[in-house]
Every structure is written in C-alpha cells, then in structure tokens.
C-alpha cells in the first residue's frame, strides 16, 4: 500500500510538469537540428542553444515542482494523504530526478549520436561535452536540496543564482586544463585521467547532495 501512494505522487508530479518537459525537449531538438544542418557559424549558436534547455530543466524544475508546491500551499493537501514526511521527500526526489534525467538523457544522447555519426564537430569533443552537460545536473541537485530543505523561496533562488554565476567560472577553469583541451580538437574521444576524474567528481558530488537532502529532510520535526 505504501509503495503505491509514493507512486501516485510521482505520477502526479509528472502529470503536473508535462507542459514544461515538452517545451524543453522541443527546444533541445530545435537546437540540435541547427547544429546538424548548419555550418561553422551556426555551430556555436546551436551549441549554446542546446545547453540552455538543460540549464532551464535544472533550474526551473525544482523551483516549479517543489518550491511552488510549498508556496501554493499544496503541501498541506499532500500531507493529509497517508504518507510520512520522509515518503514525501522520497517521492519528490524520485519524481524530480526522473523528470529531469529523462529529457536530459534524451538530449545528451542525441547530441553524442550527432557528434559520433555526423562529423560536424571533431569527436574529441565528447568528454568535454559530457563534463559540460553534467554541470546542470549538479546545479539541479543543489537547487533541489535548497528548495526541499530550505523551504522558503529565497533558498531556491539563492541556489539558482549561485549556480548560474558559477557555470561560466567552472567552464573557464576547465578550459585551462591541457588534459581536456588538447584532445578536444582531435578525431577521437580521449578518456584520460583528467576527464575521468572530473566526471567522476561531478557524479559523486551529485549523489552526495541527494543523500544530504534526504538526511536533512528526515531530521525535521515540523513539516507543514
């Protein structure tokens, strides 16, 4: 019985966020199309356009899915259902991750396939591309944590602003690493220690943030 209530909550979130997901996918598809059919000039435009939906997904989703729920006072309605606050948190983490990862995976896989098969961009770019694509994932985890644990809109916005400002910095820092930039122009993707370490850290950080969120939420005594 318990599983099905959490399942219903996850389905509910999916249903509520459907319009946003569709828009994000459409935008990403459009950006990839530009990359696919364009020449040198439109490449950069396409590339940038491609990352925008990923960032939007990462930043808007938690605010809309979780933050609004509390702001719009839907939380009392949900907590009147036979669930504990921990189950609510779990459902939020699961549904947010699913709603984020499904489009994210779709777009990123499509981009990788594009690079692999079409030769529009040197294939050496793939590791850097994945590292870049992981940044919104980290941002997503951080904002989700802030919004769930912090409860007020302010925390979500603060995390949002923090992430937006640091993406550029993080990328700049990475362009300084010869281990990444060297092979990037090459015809073959090179998975050297630099690339793997960075990617590995990103994934671990994301998992840690999610775990931290779960832990902090379970310690709360006044939920609504």
């Amino acid at each position: 019985m318990r599983e099905s209530v959490v399942g219903q909550l996850v389905w509910k979130d999916w249903r509520l966020q459907r319009p946003q997901i569709v828009i994000v996918l459409a935008w990403g598809a459009a950006a990839l199309t530009i990359v696919r059919w364009g020449h040198q000039n439109t490449l950069v435009v396409g590339g940038v356009l491609f990352f925008i939906p990923l960032i939007l997904l990462a930043h808007i989703l938690p605010l809309a899915g979780v933050g609004n729920e509390r702001k719009n006072q839907n939380l009392a309605f949900l907590m009147s259902l036979p669930i504990s606050s921990i189950q609510y948190t779990s459902s939020k983490l699961i549904s947010s991750l699913l709603i984020f990862l499904v489009p994210w995976l779709t777009l990123v896989s499509a981009a990788v396939v594009l690079v692999e098969t079409r030769g529009v961009v040197p294939r050496g770019v793939i590791p850097s591309m994945l590292i870049l694509a992981m940044m919104p994932v980290l941002g997503f985890c951080l904002i989700l944590c802030a919004v769930l644990v912090g409860e007020t809109e302010g925390w979500g916005i603060a995390a949002n602003v923090f992430c937006s400002s640091t993406y550029g910095l993080a990328w700049f820092f990475m362009t300084q690493l010869p281990g990444l930039m060297g092979p990037a122009q090459g015809p073959v993707p090179v998975w050297n220690s630099t690339a793997l370490t960075i990617l590995g850290s990103e994934v671990s950080a994301a998992v840690l943030l999610l775990g931290l969120t779960y832990f902090l939420q379970s310690r709360k005594r006044d939920f609504v």
Partner: protein
C-alpha cells in the same frame, strides 16, 4: 467507556512567540467536537499536532488509537483533513483531483461523490483556478467527504462562505453522524455553526484550554442576570459569577457556573433581578476571553 477518537494528554509545543501549554483533549468516538478560540489561540497548531504534521515537544497524542506522529501514516488512512490554508492544484480539474484521491483510497464512494457534486453545485470538468473561494472550499471538502473517513478534522470549514454554501456543508457534516462510530473535530469562528452541530465544545485561548465539555451543559452554565441595584446597595461577590458591569442603577452580572441560588443571593442583598437570560455561544465566547484574560493579568 467508548473508544476515544482523539486523546491528547499534557501536550506542549513551544514556538518563538507562542506556546501550547498542557493541552488535554478527549473526543469520544461518534461525536462532533467544536473547537473555538480567538485568532492565534493555538487551534491550528493543535490540529496539526493531531494530524502528526507537527511534532509535540511533550505529551501523548493518540488518534483513532494510533500514537502520533510516529503512526501518522496508519492514522491518515482513516482521517479526512481539510484546512482553510490548504490549496488544490490550480491547473488541474476537480475531476483530476477526484481520480487522484480515488486511486489512493479504497473506500472512495463514487456515488456519494457524484451526489456531492450535484449538491455543492460543482462540475468535475472545472479547473481549480476557475473556481470561486466558496467553490474551492466545497471542492476540498468533497474530496474529504467522499472518502467516508472515520474521523474528519476540519480547520475552518465554513469560513468565508455564503449562507447557502455554509448550510450545504453543515448538512453533510451532520449527515456523517448517521453512521455510528464516525467523529468530527472542527475549528470555526462561526460560533453559530459550532453551537448548532457540536456535541462537545472546547475553548482555547493563548495556548491553553479554558473549557472543554458537553455543549448543552456548557450553555446551561452561562447566564446573564440583569439587575436593578438601588442606591446604597452593594452587590456581593458571588461564586460562579465571572464578572459584573454596573452603570448607575443597572448592572449586568455574567455567570459561568449558574445555579438558581445566585439569583436569590442577589435578591437577598437588596438588588432586584429583572431578567435571567441564556447566552449564545458567541456571547459566551466574548465573555470567556474577556474575563479569563483579566484573571490572568490580575
């Protein structure tokens, strides 16, 4: 002794500017309890503690036999909660919400839900954002009523509603009592509604329970005595009289523990009892708050 639907003993909860102090509340199964008190008295906090949404600092909370907040999931299968500050999802329809609840709760009564739609004048295809305040309140209550829960906990169910809507809701609430074993706890500013449908009344002010008892007995204890006080007569201080207001030769004595001997005592002292009036719950509310606060400050 019948089972208790709600049993609070020695419950305490401290916030920065407010504290619930030593709350004892017992509601037997099969009864309606009305919870009244001024704004900020602690009604909503008490209700949230009952629902397990807020964890008490001290004291025992048992709802339908379940310890709260530890067993809140088990309890919430049988509790229907609706609160004034609760909102449904604006972009979805009422029908979507009904489906959502129906998939979760096995004892959803679809026929009753349809009947309520008709009685409340609502349509399932309507989006929540298109509903007026009164319609939203009725929609939220419909979702809770159609489940036929064993215990209904309602925080201000009729506040802000027009008289017709209020009547529609009171009708459904009293209809719940047709089935034995079902209970209702509701808080309301609408003292008339509380007076009409409650079996028991609990009065809370500034985090403390001031009174909690059978409604009929409670109404019987309060009386207003209109007195004519001749010159030179001083009114005696009597037990059971909570306050006296005097203006020249006319005085009004408010009793919260009335017995016929009180009238005699006044007459003996030289005053004349013009009239003994019973008080509406609203008048009792105001007098209670006024005099209990004076007592504390004295």
């Amino acid at each position: 002794m019948s089972d208790l639907a709600i049993d609070l003993s020695g419950v305490r909860k401290k916030y920065k500017f407010f504290a619930l102090d030593n709350i004892d509340l017992k509601i037997p199964e099969g009864q309606i309890m009305g919870l009244i008190g001024p704004n900020g008295a602690g009604k909503s906090t008490t209700i949230r503690i009952i629902l397990g949404l807020v964890h008490q600092d001290a004291g025992e909370v048992r709802v339908l036999g379940h310890r709260m907040p530890a067993e809140q999931v088990a309890a919430k299968w049988e509790i229907g909660f609706a609160s004034e500050d609760m909102r449904l999802y604006e972009s979805m329809t009422l029908g979507w919400h009904m489906g959502f609840i129906q998939r979760i709760y096995p004892n959803w009564d679809a026929a009753y839900a349809q009947l309520l739609l008709k009685r409340f004048g609502l349509r399932a295809e309507q989006k929540i954002k298109g509903l007026s305040h009164g319609q939203r309140v009725k929609a939220t209550l419909l979702l809770v009523l159609a489940r036929k829960p064993k215990l209904l906990v309602l925080d201000e169910p009729t506040t802000g509603l027009d008289p017709v809507a209020r009547h529609e809701i009171l009708r459904e609430l009293t209809a719940v009592m047709a089935e034995e074993g079902r209970s209702i706890l509701f808080s309301s500013h609408n003292t008339h509604d509380v007076e009409q449908i409650s079996d028991q009344i609990t009065f809370i002010d500034r985090g403390r329970i001031i009174d909690s008892m059978d409604k009929e007995l409670y109404l019987d204890r309060w009386r207003r005595l209109r007195l004519e006080v001749p010159h030179g007569v001083e009114l005696p201080a009597l037990p059971g009289i909570v306050g006296v207001q005097q203006d020249g030769r006319l005085a009004i004595a408010t009793a919260n523990a009335y017995f016929p001997g009180l009238a005699n005592a006044y007459e003996t002292s030289g005053a004349r009892v013009q009239r003994i009036e019973s008080m509406t719950l609203e008048e009792i509310f105001v007098a209670n708050v006024q005099y209990s606060r004076e007592e504390v400050e004295a």
